[in-house]
Symmetry: C2
Subunit: 502 residues, 2 copies
Amino acid sequence: MRKVSSAITPVITIDRKARTPFHRQIYDGYCAAIMGGMLRPGQRVPSTRGLASELGISRIPVLGAYAQLLAEGYFQSRVGTGTAVSLSLPDQTVFLDARRAPVPTVRRSLGSIAKHASLPDGVENAPWHRGWGPFGVGQVAFDQFPFPVWNSLVTRHCRKISPKYLDYSNPLGLKALREAIAVYLRTARGVRCEAEHIMIVSGSQQALDICVRALLDPGSRVWMEEPGYRFARSVFGLNDCQVVPVPVDQEGLNVFAGIKRCHNARAALVTPSHQYPLGFTMSASRRLQLLDWAEGSRSWILEDDYDSDYRYENLPISSLQGLDRHSRVVYLGTFSKVLFSSLRLGYLVVPPDLVNRFRAVRLAMDIAPATFSQAVLADFISEGHFSRHIRRMRMLYSERRNALVNSISAEIGPGFEVTGSEAGMHVCVIRDGIRDREIAARAARVDLSIVPLSSCYAGERRRQGFILGFGSTPAADMSNAVRRLRSIPGGPAKPVPRKADN
Amino acid sequence: MRKVSSAITPVITIDRKARTPFHRQIYDGYCAAIMGGMLRPGQRVPSTRGLASELGISRIPVLGAYAQLLAEGYFQSRVGTGTAVSLSLPDQTVFLDARRAPVPTVRRSLGSIAKHASLPDGVENAPWHRGWGPFGVGQVAFDQFPFPVWNSLVTRHCRKISPKYLDYSNPLGLKALREAIAVYLRTARGVRCEAEHIMIVSGSQQALDICVRALLDPGSRVWMEEPGYRFARSVFGLNDCQVVPVPVDQEGLNVFAGIKRCHNARAALVTPSHQYPLGFTMSASRRLQLLDWAEGSRSWILEDDYDSDYRYENLPISSLQGLDRHSRVVYLGTFSKVLFSSLRLGYLVVPPDLVNRFRAVRLAMDIAPATFSQAVLADFISEGHFSRHIRRMRMLYSERRNALVNSISAEIGPGFEVTGSEAGMHVCVIRDGIRDREIAARAARVDLSIVPLSSCYAGERRRQGFILGFGSTPAADMSNAVRRLRSIPGGPAKPVPRKADN
């Protein structure tokens, strides 16, 4: 058990008017706290001097109570570490019962819990989302992150902390970071923005939630790419919006199919740079069609510029937001993929006349982002480390992608269609007729994290295949990982589809 | 203007099939980016070698384009700093126009924006929320924070970072922090909990938002203390819940008045330790009444244990959650007041059978909290620094509170009722008949941040007065600050209420 400092003062109530003497009240208080599981074996208690001072009473009754508790085996005392709750309590069974059920678990009718929101339970519980094996989607080359540089910026900011810095920051985020992002987005992504249109968020999930709360109503219909990103669907579910799946082809979201299904949807969520999961890049003509539709129907485009920094065959394509002349696009970005996900930093670029609306929503949600990591990241970007890191990673991922694509063709053969290898950190291998979920569950058992393509669909017409991330697997290990994948029963080794084994 | 690294590669599109030569395409690309405001004066551009490599072309056409751009004054070059966009552009006016309106601001009908949520615009825009003067509510003694200890923990964790640490963490938060908080809450607050019932959040605002999304529906009615915390009201507005104001007296929320107004409200939000803004502590009998009502009507109690750590006259009172035998209480806490607010860390204690529900809501909202600051805080608590800091601050704030209460009685006299001085970091001075908002606006102009009491009411029956925070004002400066307050026209100096001056 973790050693806990004695400094936490337990709730011992002293009633000055009661007839019970103080030493007895203290003794009773400790017994109740220990029996109730509030104080645990091994946990240190305050010194007699400290407790007397906290209670504002003389030390004598405290000394008496402690002596009694020590004598009866509730407390133990050792030189140097002070007094603690005994590791072998006299009434162990009573204590353990209390510990097992510290709060009564009452079965209650669901009636009193929120009925409205539909949450896809178990999204993260799918077996393929566990583990750290090869092919995990969104796993980056964590070991390549420039820790020495980052840590030196952290240390520098520790020294710079001023009192003012500790108070709530702007709900839009730290100005220095918004300025650094604005320069980056204008230059590298063709986004039309100023720092005052940017809001720092905790990642693209929160970015999407803020958009939905600011722009949509319960019951609003939203185009989502089919197949698409499952975690995005949970945001729409939480906000009672209705997802309209719109098919994706090699040019990206099929705008005419969307218009046919629901011409007046209130919004469309797209990943134009590298569609998740198929990996296609939205063509210029589709981009213009989508913008035309949005302007005509007064709908919103939520542009998740996922994976935009890593293109291997052509230059990055300018964002939809940069083409938009009618302020219909909200641009979402995250640092989870280019830096690391536990940083929890991303951003929104909001049309100027909506900034106040978004700001009010954000303020009601969680007031403002934490300051420290924003300050570190601002320097990381503006001092050039960010772009250097992206350039290095682009070369590294290009190698890893080549290794994966070559291994697939060498080890698995032409039975699978491979899509999306021009950009990003994953490819999609498609083969209809296989049982991709069963295979993925089996793969997870041998520590291979492959997402089944069919799990990315909302509708009934589903293609089968796997999404293979290559970010965290060194090029030299790739062919071995693909061979392991091939050996999964029912997996991609088999040239003809067949029933799964069990 | 901030110097920006040359490392960001601009979106310059090269069409290999076009008849326009490469050098001309590059020249045109830069002109368009500069005129469109994507590249700004002073911003560095990549070296010719770097750009040629990014574009995958020979360096010759890039050299040609750069020479032209330099000759025409779009670029400037200096030894050592490389090439940058010129600070004095040939076509300055065109550029400036583009800069001023980089995105067209289209007036649009409100029809396409979310209609459902009622957000109290301007909560944070009130003049008394600005500035850093004395009396700011929630301002802590920032300069007393143990920076050397904190920074040494930060440095230690920088060295400990492992790749695994950079991936998404548990939606409930870091286990080490949840364990440290569980020990603290059981011991110091009498909360019945284990680490697995605790969710780390970004503060009490997000904690409340998660509760509402997990437990309530649009249209659900909620008891709120009247007067109460305005920022909490904005969460209910955002989620379309209906606030039922329930009056507060010296024993806290008047449960019978609540039952009379709306016996079947779905939830009640209370601040039992130190009611905001009046500062009263909820009595034991009211606590039991509230728990009885919640059990009988199957409603939820949201216990915001605001300011519970600082009590000056008695010991801390055990939490409502600790008295609850039917799992009706969700417990909310924050580190904003005991450490600092830009840390953005707080916690929820959730009844065991609701943990999965809360977890799914959290995952859909923003996936998980950032890891680094959680790891630092876990050590800060478990190594005893947290309790030591609280003990030091309790003494310091006790001094500051005494200084404020004494100054009020010496400088302002008995015309004002002072409430809530037994605990927390603010007192409330009440005097009906004054124009508290006007006075507060005037005070803000001379850098005194006093919140008018009447602004804390949702209903029409409002009392007047001021909420005076004493956390950030040294005891020695207090009497001077109170004298400055007294000198505000219409302010607390005047013994009889009168019309405001303007």
